[in-house]
């Protein structure tokens, strides 16, 4: 069609064919050149504020599948993580622990800044999977014990990875302390974790929890530390719980604290016969 509107602008035809194309390319080069330093500065600012996720690990490619990888690449990482989380939930219902582990690992890698995923992944391994294998009578007893310990260690490893992304997250330190205390029975490590929770939350009771763990250690130096911490807590009336008094009385005996320096309270008596308590899990 040969209308005036159909003809290109006369400034760019005849004498300078393709000049507009070259100018367009120059504009794009300018935009590209300008966007680089500005983009880099913005990226640093956003990363400092922890607003950007790290790049997707190429190793995830096989686990995500084509659509999942494209979706994750398309800025839908949070949605893909939610889907894999639901898949892990389903796998948990079916008691498929390897699948739970792999799906939760994928979920955590897609959303490393979401503490709940790390917490739940560790819970599945250190509690659910470990207990499942420990009480599974269809497996040989010596294998049961080993599997249980492996899954507990896996739970610890998951939390440590999570803490590398979220070092100031009190919830993850809390879960780690509980696993060391209740599952792997490592009192010194549990005490360190409880003290970290105390530092992050400012709540004094976590110092007591750390002291209770140190009191269970085999080393006398830990007992002395625990005694000092518990005496400090004892000074505040609202912290004089039965556990505190029980532990103080035990430590006073172990450390041979002179009688005038001991606390006046008697050791609390149990209302229930220990034989009536269930098995410790």
């Amino acid at each position: 069609m040969d209308t005036p509107a159909a003809k290109p602008n006369s400034r760019f035809t005849a004498a300078t064919p393709g000049r507009a194309m070259l100018l367009a390319l120059a504009v794009l080069l300018g935009v590209g050149g300008l966007s680089q330093p500005l983009g880099q500065a913005l990226r640093q600012q956003l990363q400092q504020q922890a607003l950007l996720n790290p790049p997707v690990d190429m190793g995830l490619r096989g686990n995500l599948g084509q659509m999942g990888f494209a979706a994750a690449l398309g800025g839908l990482r949070s949605l893909v993580a939610s889907v894999t989380y639901l898949q892990a939930y389903r796998a948990w219902e079916l008691v498929a622990w390897a699948r739970v582990d792999s799906l939760m690992a994928l979920t955590c890698t897609l959303q490393p800044k979401h503490a709940n995923y790390w917490d739940e992944a560790a819970w599945h391994m250190a509690y659910n999977a470990a207990s499942h294998y420990l009480y599974n009578e269809s497996i040989e007893p010596w294998v049961r014990g080993r599997l249980s310990e492996q899954y507990k260690a896996q739970g610890v490893a998951i939390l440590k990875t999570g803490l590398s992304h979220l070092p100031q997250n009190a919830k993850l330190w809390h879960t780690l302390a509980e696993i060391y205390q209740n599952r792997t029975h490592e009192p010194k490590l549990a005490a360190q974790a409880w003290l970290k929770v105390r530092d992050l939350t400012g709540q004094a009771r976590y110092a007591r929890f750390a002291a209770y763990q140190l009191a269970q250690s085999q080393e006398a130096s830990d007992w002395k530390t625990a005694y000092a911490m518990l005496r400090q807590a004892y000074a505040k009336a609202d912290q004089r719980t039965p556990s505190l008094i029980e532990n103080l009385r035990q430590l006073e005996q172990r450390l041979n604290i002179p009688y005038p320096q001991r606390i006046p309270e008697a050791a609390p008596t149990l209302e229930k016969d220990p034989a009536e308590f269930g098995p410790i899990r």
Binding site: M1, T3, P4, A5, A6, K7, P8, N9, R11, F12, T13, G18, R19, A20, M21, L23, A24, V27, L28, L29, G30, V31, G32, G33, L34, S35, Q36, L38, G39, A41, L42, R43, Q45, L46, Q49, A50, L51, L52, N53, P55, V56, M58, A70, L73, G74, G75, L76, R77, S78, L79, A81, S82, Y85, L86, Y89, Q111, K113, H114, N116
Partner: protein, 290 residues
């Protein structure tokens, strides 16, 4: 003033044209998905329920804005050429720049309206869900005798962090800014291309590459020398915009606050890309034989 008036008229006409194409019909599908996400999955814990709702809603927003930005823009020029509307408009005379800016603005208005509808659906579902979740959690605490003021306050803080807030609206704005970059880029491709399909395919590929820029840089350019790396990075920046800078929605969904400096920085990058692509579109369109 006359230019602005022409651009606005063309923008409104484009908006009406896109509405008539019933592109917004599949907006209803997205709204249904958001509502379903809000009502379903009652078995998972309360915090995760709220997060899932936000994940689905923001995913729907992203998909809608990208698909609209690419498909609607790719259709515009070929449709006007086919209907001979383009010749009528340019013969008025309307400068080609005004025509392009009007089309761009029209598509952006359509995306904005669609996103507003989705945002309202998300906000409503989230508000209802967070109240329900909070009430159920408090009832559960009461049943166990654990409803101390501290526990309820902690629960309230969790719901406030994961629930409805102004921060979510900032996240929606960032998605719109990203889609405006994609729309401008697609318009530029459309000015060079000869078919709608070609524009759509290249548009989607460029968008995917834009999201994978950081990954491409880390994976393929890490072993190169400094000078060569800089050349490749500039070429990469020329071919596609760095869309990873707009991926702050994950942090927003997790309850993190998107401060004004970050928002202004993202808006600035978006403006740079949109102006650059609009200028390049004009230069390409001005020489195009229609």
């Amino acid at each position: 003033m006359a230019h602005l008036s022409r651009i606005w008229t063309l923008a409104c006409a484009t908006f009406t044209q896109l509405l008539r194409m019933r592109i917004m019909a599949f907006l209803a599908v997205f709204c249904v998905i958001v509502v379903a996400a809000g009502l379903g999955f009652a078995i998972i814990n309360p915090e995760q329920q709220l997060k899932l709702l936000k994940d689905v809603a923001f995913g729907a927003l992203q998909v809608f804005s990208v698909v609209m930005g690419i498909c609607a823009t790719a259709l515009l020029l070929p449709r006007d050429l086919e209907d001979r509307t383009l010749y009528t408009v340019l013969a008025k005379p309307v400068p080609r720049l005004n025509y392009l800016l009007g089309k761009l603005l029209g598509v952006l208005m359509t995306i904005a309206v669609g996103m507003l509808v989705l945002d309202l659906a998300l906000s409503l579902m989230l508000y209802l869900r967070q109240n329900l979740v909070f009430a159920q959690a408090v009832a559960a605490l009461k049943a166990e005798g654990q409803d101390s003021p501290q526990a309820v306050a902690q629960l309230q803080a969790m719901v406030a962090q994961q629930g409805l807030g102004w921060n979510l609206q900032a996240g929606v704005l960032v998605i719109f800014l990203k889609s405006s970059v994609i729309t401008a880029m697609t318009l530029m491709i459309s000015c060079m291309a000869s078919s709608t399909l070609f524009t759509m395919v290249i548009g989607f590929l460029a968008t995917l590459c834009g999201h994978g820029q950081e990954l491409i840089r880390e994976t393929f350019l890490s072993g190169q020398g400094v000078a060569l790396r800089q050349v490749w990075k500039t070429l990469l920046a020329v071919i596609t915009p760095d869309l990873t800078l707009f991926d702050v929605t994950d942090a927003v969904i997790n309850g993190q606050s998107l401060g004004m400096p970050a928002l202004l920085g993202i808006a600035g990058m978006s403006l740079l890309y949109v102006l650059g692509y609009a200028m390049a579109s004009h230069l390409l369109f001005v020489e195009k034989e229609l």
